[in-house]
């Protein structure tokens, strides 16, 4: 799926994607089921199984995860980490339960935000549809306290518009937590990736720019390395 401010557009099917995506140049893969209807964990598990046959880096999977059993299903299908969002907002103690059962390194909490009229960033739930009224800094800190291992932070405003990450947002949140922050939403050029790291993200994630073109990801990493970012380089 292609996403622009969380409006979805189908692109290619998974099998084709697996063949074309340069799985050899990715550090970690995030697989999110963003289906708006009939979303089932069993389907996500099947897709993760398919992907894990060809993807030999850590896989984080999520989208509609609501129970500890969903964690077991995804981990047994080949995921290394599980991504949760709405369930964490509804029942924050679920973060602790998952962390205690599987280890915090297994629990990625995804936070979707939009800038409010007052300039503050507000957390949205349910595929970005509902403004929870919570401010991002408070929620991010609570997630860390509850045992979340990583935070996957997406700016809904920047999603899919290729104008770069919301650097101010990344700076604010990364300073407020000690667990890793993964930046998401807005990459259009290689320099955006470096900006994300400089702003304080531990990792940068991207989707649209690299869905199609094989060597783009390799060039992105070389660009980042040339600009002082310490990232794994394989025998390119």
């Amino acid at each position: 799926m292609n996403s622009r401010n969380f409006e979805l557009q189908p692109m290619v099917n998974l099998e084709t994607m697996i063949q074309h995506l340069n799985l050899k140049a990715i550090d970690e893969l995030v697989v999110l089921d963003v289906s708006r209807k009939n979303r089932k964990i069993e389907d996500l598990c099947q897709n993760v199984k398919l992907i894990s046959k060809k993807c030999f880096v850590p896989i984080s999977a999520g989208g509609g995860v609501r129970k500890i059993d969903d964690f077991y299903g995804l981990l047994n299908s080949g995921a290394d980490k599980v991504v949760i969002n709405t369930i964490a907002l509804e029942s924050p103690e679920f973060i602790s339960k998952a962390s205690e059962t599987f280890g915090s390194q297994c629990v990625v909490v995804s936070i979707d935000v939009k800038k409010g009229k007052d300039g503050d960033y507000y957390v949205y739930s349910n595929d970005g549809k509902i403004n929870t009224g919570r401010k991002v800094l408070d929620w991010a800190q609570e997630v860390e306290t509850l045992g979340g291992g990583e935070i996957y932070l997406t700016s809904i405003d920047r999603d899919g518009v290729a104008q770069g990450y919301d650097v101010g947002l990344i700076e604010k949140v990364s300073k407020a937590i000690t667990i890793p922050l993964i930046a998401s939403g807005g990459v259009g050029q290689f320099s955006h990736l470096t900006e994300g790291i400089v702003a304080g993200a531990s990792a940068v994630s991207l989707a649209n720019l690299f869905h199609y073109i094989g060597t783009n990801l390799i060039n992105a990493k070389l660009y980042m390395a040339q600009h002082g970012v310490d990232c794994p380089l394989w025998n390119f």
Binding site: F56, V57, P58
Partner: protein
Amino acid sequence: MKVCVIDYKMGNLGSIANVLEEIKCNYVISNRAKEIEESDKLVLPGVGAFLKGMDNLRKLGLVDILGREVLVKRKPILGVCLGMQLFADKGFENGEHRGLGWISGEVKRLFPNDNTLKVPHVGWNDIKIKKDSKLFLKIGGDASFYFVHSYYFSAPEENVTSTFEYGGEFTASVEKGNLFGAQFHPEKSAENGLTLLKNFVGV
């Protein structure tokens, strides 16, 4: 050539199996004596706690079977993460516990001398190759691999083939005759991991 991935109920065997399939290596996942004996090489994976790992090996009768295959018949074995750590004399996770004692040394908690570095050590990190090893053929001297662990194997210098930096220098891989071990997860380390596993299988 057949590899047996030892199933002692610790961790995701599927990931190792996926790589073995990808590199077109004949393999079986098992904890039964017959299949272990019929295999040419062994992989001991593992994610989880030291004591549970040893308990599971004991309960499945694997300490004796593996002892015979590895120490007497000298079958090549690759220990991954917890699998490698179990080769040690003892481990100090939640108390002091005996390991297999195949490579001397102890498994201790990581202690980065840098309070910005957290434990567990999770993510990509470079290794520094210290000794020639068949495992590192065609792999660069400061190659990246994926790590996720809270404990490390403090082994004798002559058995340490590579180290990683994390607020200190720690063992990344070990080797002693037919015994090979990796703290990182080659099955999660993209091209470098695939190459390392190909090297082990071809060894």
